[in-house]
């Protein structure tokens, strides 16, 4: 089955340290990958996407993600975490060419500790 996994339910990091939120995928064909963030009692906000081209993608709020085809991963990273980065992060994959078939991972809760 085509799917997206986020192996960590919770990630804790100290403010100023680098953060990584992990995502792996299992799809047939080309993966079209997305990261979203959700702040408390809000909808999801788009951060970045990988469609093709450069494996390192930069997004909003200073985050970036690296597409690794051999490891089927698309980890989200930020060099220096802020307390305001604390949120729920979702990885997603678009399974078709019509934008109608997104599969979301279960989410990873990031807590940045002051």
């Amino acid at each position: 089955a085509q799917s997206v996994a986020q192996p960590e339910d919770q990630v804790n990091v100290a403010e100023g340290n680098p953060l990584t939120v992990k995502c792996t995928y299992s799809v047939s064909g080309n993966p079209y990958l997305f990261w979203y963030v959700q702040y408390p009692n809000r909808g999801l906000q788009f951060l970045l996407k990988y469609i093709t081209g450069d494996n390192l993608v930069k997004g909003s709020y200073g985050v970036e993600a690296e597409f690794n085809k051999s490891q089927t991963s698309f980890h989200l990273k930020k060099p220096s975490a802020l307390v305001s980065d604390s949120a729920l992060y979702f990885c997603a994959v678009d399974l078709d060419n019509y934008g109608q078939n997104f599969v979301f991972g279960p989410g990873t809760r990031l807590s940045v500790l002051p």
Partner: protein
């Protein structure tokens, strides 16, 4: 900026009531979606629509129906609300992919529905 609005942020209903959740987008998007979000389960697709009056079932359509009479508006209907439909409901919209350009979905703020 794309804006997706949902009619209520919080809603409390009783078992057996008919519930309407409304979603409006202002970017002329063809695709609109209804998801429910539950802790540990991520987002699960209930229904989506790719055009006016068109709808497709998602992964968990049982107990729900939808209506799309106008391009900008997509309604989710709980015919007879049950306690297991207590959840966060998220509406989203997008335009279809064009060639290699795959578009993100834009989300509304969500409606937290409690069924007593």
């Amino acid at each position: 900026d794309v804006k997706v609005t949902q009619s209520s942020r919080y809603l409390v209903k009783r078992t057996g009531e008919k519930v309407f959740l409304e979603c409006v987008q202002d970017m002329d998007h063809e695709n609109m979606f209804w998801y429910r979000q539950d802790p540990g389960l991520g987002l699960r697709l209930i229904y989506f629509s790719y055009d006016v009056k068109m709808k497709e079932k998602g992964d968990i359509p049982e107990g729900y129906s939808v209506s799309r009479e106008k391009k900008e508006r997509f309604s989710l209907i709980l015919e007879s609300a049950s306690t297991n439909q207590t959840s966060m409901y998220l509406c989203a919209s997008s335009s279809p992919a064009s060639g290699s350009f795959h578009n993100e979905q834009f989300f509304g703020p969500g409606t937290r529905l409690t069924v007593l």
